[in-house]
Symmetry: C2
Subunit: 248 residues, 2 copies
């Protein structure tokens, strides 16, 4: 049985704790949280500490705090020879001051209220030493079926790619909703199309899945759409993405 | 039993024919197709005509040809007093020359090879006369649970919104894939995130669902991402969409 200690009490920490408590192969050693209210109810009070000095040794320490606090929290772990990882998509492994360091990044956008099925979420892991990597892998496969060995440099690229496919794609939904509102059309009319757009990508590459006036070179429709767009930023986005599609 | 005649043999015509043949309440009267090879196998040969002059009266004529051919095909229907609709998202109802005219636009991106469940696809309908609208509605509900009364002007806006949520969102997936390739990361690592991005929209408005460095105002991450982007068009897209998210 591997023992895990979680530092933090945000969304990622919550989901990690819930999944550890559910696991037969992992044991929750301790939780470090600055205030008690933010710790999930199911955690026994005796496992919660409010000062880093109260931490005991564990097989792994997982720092699940905001990006800017990772370095600081790591520096305050004074136990000798511990394996410490963080869970950030952007911070390099080098932010951990311990010699035995690593990263376990879960590639998903989390919402605290919504239960998360970790099994389908990609876990991107790396570690400074082969032996620690092995243990980290053993832990990650307890959570998820999709575990990837990813370097700090690759992780940065994944995070950037995630901004395109998640944040920016979602903004396209916002722009679509605004166009609907302006013309008294219910946004729900677009939801089956949004579902199908994501669905197609599970089987086709995005270049193969591309349809629409830009990829057909349908100048007449493009011209009509630009006339319909009154907002200058939307117009600019339409023109730039149309150009980018046509350059592929 | 309502009788339907389909003019055309492309993707939309194929899916319409398959769904009519499956229906207990609709009857396929005739199909007009320029060449026999493009007609689905399940259609009896006696129902297929290759000249518009061979068409007989039916309750409704559905013109399912490419946008530029709609007006021409409509002009060639010389039977008196027929109800004629087209299926385009962008062409106004006025392109039909018959006095009894309408539109039945299915809001989805079709692939010929893939079976389509019409029941979840929004049908946007309009007609010149109230009585014809009623019949069109009666037909549409045989295909789908989501039937909307949509004017030609609204339909244009829906088509534009669909470009944002489908074509442009899909292009974001393309850009994400390119970033992955450049850094030797498998694109499949992003697929659960893409699925979740579309999933969230079924329950949250896109503005509520928005996450990421742009919506957090995380200038440090934005700066790092821009440094990572070597392609000038991708950089421009990143900056423009980031600005647009921040202006909401």
């Amino acid at each position: 049985m591997l023992t895990l200690t979680i530092l933090g009490s945000g969304k990622v920490a919550h989901h990690l704790i819930a999944n550890i408590l559910d696991s037969d192969q992992l044991q929750l050693q301790q939780i470090y949280a600055r205030n008690t209210n933010s710790v999930p109810d199911m955690v026994p009070e005796s496992s919660v500490v409010h000062s880093i000095d109260q931490l005991q040794p564990a097989d792994i320490f997982i720092i699940a705090v905001s990006d800017i606090a990772i370095e600081e929290v790591s520096k305050h772990i004074h136990l000798a020879d511990q394996f410490v990882v963080h869970t950030s998509g952007t911070i390099p492994m080098s932010a951990i001051s311990q010699e035995r360091k690593g990263v376990m990044y879960m590639l998903q956008s989390f919402t605290k209220e919504k239960d998360v099925d970790f099994s389908a979420i990609p876990f991107c892991i790396e570690a400074n030493h082969a032996k620690d990597f092995q243990m980290l892998e053993q832990i990650a496969v307890c959570f998820s079926e999709r575990v990837y060995k990813i370097s700090s440099k690759q992780r940065k690229a994944i995070h950037l790619a995630a901004v395109f496919v998640n944040n920016f794609a979602n903004h396209m939904f916002t722009l679509g909703e605004e166009v609907c509102k302006e013309h008294q059309v219910p946004f729900e009319i677009l939801k089956p199309l949004i579902a199908e757009t994501a669905n197609k990508i599970m089987e086709l590459s995005p270049v193969e899945a591309q349809t629409g006036p830009a990829s057909r070179g349908d100048q007449n429709t493009i011209k009509q759409h630009l006339e319909l767009l009154t907002d200058p930023t939307k117009k600019e986005i339409y023109q730039l993405i149309t150009k980018s599609i046509q350059n592929r």
